[in-house]
């Protein structure tokens, strides 16, 4: 039924009033002449109201003459009449077309460039590179050659192993994957020393090439030469430079400190919330203030109201500032418990720092309780390879 209505609207129809005495004859003649009439209603003894198509209305004239009744148009409906009216309101039509033109124009412009997945390469560098290729905010999205950008990025940054460029609405999304760079490979031809990458006590030196400079028990600082790639003779000026190779294991320390107050003030939400709305246009904001915040202590949180639940970056945002009332309370914590939790926290933190292939020798945990804080030091001693190749500069 809806489709018929829509069709009638598109084709246009008229609501007509037919006045006469033999209206049934009028209807029968219309039916036999295949004139489509619908929604016929008798509004008075001598008046019928009905709807007819535009062609139908023209064809009715013959019947009207035959039957001898009067027809008048009560209303014209449908698209043809709207268009007809629009002829006299040109500016409205122009505005209508302009409206769609602007929407199409604005939606074919890149408004935002999003870069995901990069850690080593900075966003700014990528944006700069893109800008050189005239890819920046405000360009027409159909002009963008995605394959070209992908190739450009991969060529420019060696770290990248994968790049994909996608246009979503008005957003240019660049998805990157970086490869894990192996530790800088130095060519075997270049003479190198092996130096200490950190402070430690030497445990074992395995020199496959080059001359070891340190022995077990030596304390080395960062940067000290461990295996030298220089063979020099006391009697001659000649020096032989080699590519030193080998492992130097040393004891190194990793420490972490955690502090935790014994008496802790915690903030507890009372459940009372005060809201304030803000309309943000660009960088400017208009706050709708209704009175001051009625709480003494509160936590502020800001939420963005999503318009129509779509993920579009609009130039304006509706923000809701929520002020949650809090009560501060002081809690005295159990010292033993703090010690335990500090310990766990410190070890977790240290595990993140430790390189993967190390041997842990010892762990030392110390707690100090001093004016209202428990300080925990955790020191882990490990044996690891601290040798790093470093080219010899002549």
């Amino acid at each position: 039924m809806g489709t018929i209505k829509a069709w009638n609207f598109l084709k246009g129809y008229v609501i007509i009033k037919v006045e006469g005495l033999t209206l049934e004859r009028f209807l029968n003649l219309a039916a036999t002449n295949d004139i489509y009439l619908w929604d016929i209603n008798r509004i008075d003894y001598t008046i019928l109201e009905m709807k007819a198509t535009i062609e139908g209305f023209r064809a009715l004239k013959e019947i009207v003459n035959k039957v001898g009744c009067r027809v008048e148009i009560a209303e014209k409906k449908g698209l043809p009449f709207i268009i007809y009216k629009l002829r006299y309101r040109k500016m409205l039509g122009v505005g209508f077309i302009l409206f769609f033109a602007i929407i199409i124009l604005l939606s074919s412009i890149i408004w935002d460039i999003e870069i995901n997945g990069n850690e080593k390469v900075k966003d700014e560098d990528i944006l700069l590179l893109l800008e050189e290729e005239k890819i920046k905010n405000g360009i027409i999205k159909y002009k963008i050659d995605k394959d070209y950008i992908e190739r450009l990025l991969l060529n420019e940054f060696d770290v990248l192993s994968f790049a994909s460029v996608e246009i979503k609405g008005t957003k240019l999304i660049i998805e990157l994957k970086e490869r894990d760079l192996p530790p800088e490979n130095i060519d075997e031809d270049i003479p190198v020393n092996i130096v200490a990458s950190k402070k430690g006590i030497i445990e074992k030196v395995i020199a496959r090439d080059g001359r070891p400079r340190v022995r077990k028990g030596d304390v080395v600082e960062k940067g000290d030469v461990l295996i030298s790639g220089i063979f020099s003779d006391e009697y001659s000026e000649n020096r032989i430079l080699v590519h030193a190779e080998g492992e130097v294991f040393a004891r190194t320390l990793y420490s972490y400190k955690v502090e935790e107050p014994i008496i802790k003030t915690i903030k507890e939400e009372t459940g009372r919330v005060f809201e304030r709305k803000e309309l943000k246009i660009g960088k400017r904001g208009i706050q709708f203030i209704k009175g001051d915040i009625p709480f003494e202590d509160y936590i502020e949180s800001t939420e963005e109201m999503k318009i129509l639940n779509m993920n579009i970056d609009l130039p304006f945002k509706l923000l809701i500032h929520k002020y949650k009332e809090v009560e501060t309370r002081e809690i005295k914590q159990d010292i033993e418990l703090i010690k335990n939790s500090n310990h766990i926290k410190a070890v977790e933190e240290l595990n993140k720092q430790l390189p993967s292939d190390v041997e842990i020798i010892s762990k030392d945990v110390k707690h100090y309780v001093r004016n209202n804080t428990v300080t925990t030091y955790v020191v882990i001693e490990v044996i690891e390879d601290i040798g790093v190749k470093h080219p010899i500069d002549n």
Partner: protein, 92 residues
């Protein structure tokens, strides 16, 4: 004579399971609750106002009574009536 032909038509439509409204040129009246009524194979409107509708057909005059009756469509073979229908009477 006429009756015999009618009987024959009836038997044929019965035997072949053909719809009788087509074979015997009978009107077909379909009601949807008491708010809509379709009459197909009619022979013209005799009277129409908001309370009564009289339609001519091969079996006589079909009189529909009700209130607020409106003719949804009129085609040469079908009439659709909307409104609150009280009764149908067939006057032959």
């Amino acid at each position: 004579m006429d009756n015999r032909i009618e009987n024959l038509k009836y038997s044929i439509s019965e035997a072949l399971e053909l719809p009788k409204d087509i074979v015997m040129d009978l009107p077909k009246i379909v009601m949807v609750g008491n708010i809509q009524l379709n009459i197909s194979n009619h022979k013209g409107i005799i009277e129409y106002n908001q309370d009564t509708l009289r339609v001519n057909s091969s079996i006589g005059v079909i009189k529909i009574t009700g209130s607020n009756l409106k003719l949804k469509t009129i085609l040469s073979e079908e009439i659709v009536v909307n409104g609150f229908i009280d009764g149908i009477e067939i006057i032959s």
